[in-house]
Symmetry: C2
Subunit: 437 residues, 2 copies
């Protein structure tokens, strides 16, 4: 796996990133399959399992295979960039949790939260697996925050959450173990909090846009729980969604069925007649937490006048696997996935046909090396003993944006096709490189 | 957090990496502390806790704060590059495990493995938290490997392991929840396995060198458990280490006390008189697994002659937090940590003194922006109401490689000092940028 182009090598060293930008499909861990497990109901889980992106360990528990991890990491990077852009500091909390911290907020009680995994240390004291991280982070911030000068602070992470769901048939849409991006805000005043809440909302809107689901994703009014009248969900309209929302397409806002009433409509200045009832998937949510956790755990700051006040908090979540699955729910056809270019595992799939013909093989190998030397991410289907039909079907299932075919028929040219389009194009290797760059 | 230099921006977009390369110390989550918790025995845990790199949740369970996560991510990237270089495919297995898979190898039994965390799903079936990943990966590979043409395969991941240790006083050196890099090899024959095992060994040697502990780390013969006569550990010589090894400094090899006997010395052609007994920390290990797991779980391939054979496996581990802690055990003085430049959280700490003087403040801010525009990672101590002595002490504790001071006294110059050296140097801002670049 030597990257031959010295220019690329140099740049990559500069950023301390050596990426694996190329792969032979004959060697990949994650083969395509004809059928998905019968108990997988969602299209996204079926396609991701069939394509070799993920592997099912237990219901609701999925391993990310190399192709799936590549997509996940690209989604993570987009979300990370937008979190850094709104002053988020990245950290990483723990899965094992101290029950004492959770007892303070009341959430350790199984009657309050019924999705805990609990277990024990050797000395017989209890521990539990993080369902989220409000409590431990609030507790940690007690050491960080004393004065108004220490505020505001914004912390985020990509961390695994464990939720002991009774039913887990949603595939990656509702997993029992899943990676979440969670951001938490710590502000002095309600006004500061509201300003940041709006910044976070705008960052989320940018994220959906960059992930290719911006047009289908709506800011949605939802219940705020016990400490806030409302929160905001980001709902992606999708026939297979579990949630029901009422959508005003013109105003680009929606209301979750759970808070759908005349009072809310009036508050939002929405006319009932402009609304459409649709199914949707919640891809993210943002939540004003007020002083619920700072009061419960004792997170105070001293203000300009020496007065002790509770810190105003907010939390902002995105389930990374769920977002990936939602993109698949939206971006597929009967042949397979259609990844947006910026999160596709590879940009182009180079397919070699008739590779038993040494001349064709040589051409394909040469083009493969050239694509690599340009720094373009390429998956090379170098399999022999596999029919052209099977190779095309696999390529469609994997959803790689560009398909470049070299065969006896193409001679010194390349047959190029976009995954999302029907027609093929006859191009020279040079044109191909130019188009991909 | 806008990166102003368009050249840097362009490059970073090319690689899809927008990094947070700068930070104001007044805002950082992770303040320095005078004292570490009393129950922390190891110097590395004390310094990492005092410096605000990590936060202790429970004994043996640590949150990575922003500074700590930066160091960890740099170590991860070095290890990742070397794993990709030996054809490793990155994936990510799960924490929640299916007991049925572990029962096949016999390791689910608490009498065999006594460090399990076990818990239950809502339907009362058991699950456990991954202590390592041989069994689930072997099980997964059954779907991947049929014929000799599918081999070899090499898979690696950075994944959390959970180990329910009775005693956890080693800080990050022996945590109960920790990130591990684990690589697994799947080969056709013993010969192929041995070749790869040697490649992995060489990759490990490169890793220690790149992490700055190469000179202190020795390939060490150790017990191979029940299925192999020997394995290899990588032991870093360190007074505070838990392991005892016998070291031949000239030959650059060592023998773990647990297998230290005349037979082994003879086999390795080592003279007892050349050996030194020293304490060491095991930073990594590589293990020939033979067919233990492939036999137990049924991972076979069909060879060239149509014969069914078990796959030959190996496993190769590095505890990421332990490596980070080991570096601190080795690289510190009585003032704090001395990070090697390539894994330091930031390259330079810019310290502003007398910042109440607007002129000085302006100079410091201007230099801060310039350093950022060059793409150099910089931590700016912009705190007011903190003494020069405290700022210098914090800088030493954090272990940032370069310290650049701007004050009333420095006028239009900068006082530069390397963390590892005593003397300071008077340079112009331009010289500083040149030296750091």
């Amino acid at each position: 796996m030597v990257i031959k182009n010295p220019q690329y090598q140099q740049k990559s060293e500069h950023f301390n990133v050596i990426k694996s930008i190329h792969m032979r499909y004959s060697k990949i861990i994650g083969k395509t399959k004809k059928d998905a497990p019968k108990d997988e109901e969602s299209v996204s889980a079926q396609l991701l399992l069939r394509g070799g992106f993920v592997h099912k360990e237990i219901a609701g528990v999925y391993t990310y295979l190399p192709l799936g991890l590549r997509v996940l990491n690209k989604i993570i990077q987009i979300v990370r960039e937008e979190m850094i852009a709104i002053d988020g500091q990245e950290m990483s909390l723990t899965a094992l949790q101290n029950p004492e911290v959770w007892k303070k907020s009341g959430r350790y009680d199984d009657d309050v939260v019924d999705i805990w995994f609990k277990t024990k240390f050797k000395n017989n004291t209890e521990t539990c697996l993080a369902i989220t991280h409000e409590e431990p982070l609030t507790n940690l911030m007690i050491q960080q925050i004393n004065s108004y000068k220490d505020l505001p602070l914004y912390a985020f992470q990509f961390q695994t959450k464990f939720r002991n769901e009774v039913r887990s048939k949603g595939g990656l849409l509702r997993a029992r173990e899943f990676l979440m991006k969670d951001l938490y805000s710590f502000d002095k005043t309600k006004e500061d909090h509201e300003k940041y809440y709006e910044r976070a909302k705008q960052a989320y809107i940018k994220i959906w846009k960059r992930l290719g689901i911006g047009d289908d994703t709506y800011v949605t009014f939802a219940s705020g729980g016990s400490f806030s009248k409302f929160s905001h969900e980001f709902q992606t309209v999708c026939k297979t969604g579990e949630d029901t929302i009422y959508l005003d397409k013109k105003k680009k806002i929606a209301v979750n069925k759970e808070v759908f009433n005349d009072e809310v409509l009036k508050m939002l200045d929405i006319n009932k007649n402009d609304l459409e009832e649709v199914k949707a998937i919640e891809v993210g949510n943002i939540f004003p937490l007020g002083t619920k956790y700072s009061d419960a755990l004792g997170l105070y700051y001293t203000d300009e006048e020496g007065k002790k006040k509770p810190v105003i908090m907010g939390s902002y979540g995105i389930g990374m696997g769920r977002v990936m699955a939602t993109i698949v729910e939206l971006k597929h056809d009967d042949k397979g996935i259609i990844w947006p270019e910026n999160i596709a595992p590879y940009k182009v799939m180079l397919i070699g046909l008739n590779l038993e013909d040494e001349k064709v093989k040589e051409k394909a190998e040469k083009l493969y090396e050239k694509i690599i030397s340009m720094g373009i991410e390429v998956l090379y289907d170098d399999r022999k003993e596999v029919t052209a039909g099977q190779k095309f079907a696999d390529c469609d299932l994997l959803g790689i944006p560009y398909r470049a075919v070299i065969s006896q028929k193409t001679e010194n040219r390349v047959e190029l096709k976009k995954r999302a389009e029907q027609n093929t194009k006859d191009v020279s290797p040079e044109e191909l490189l130019y188009l991909l760059k």
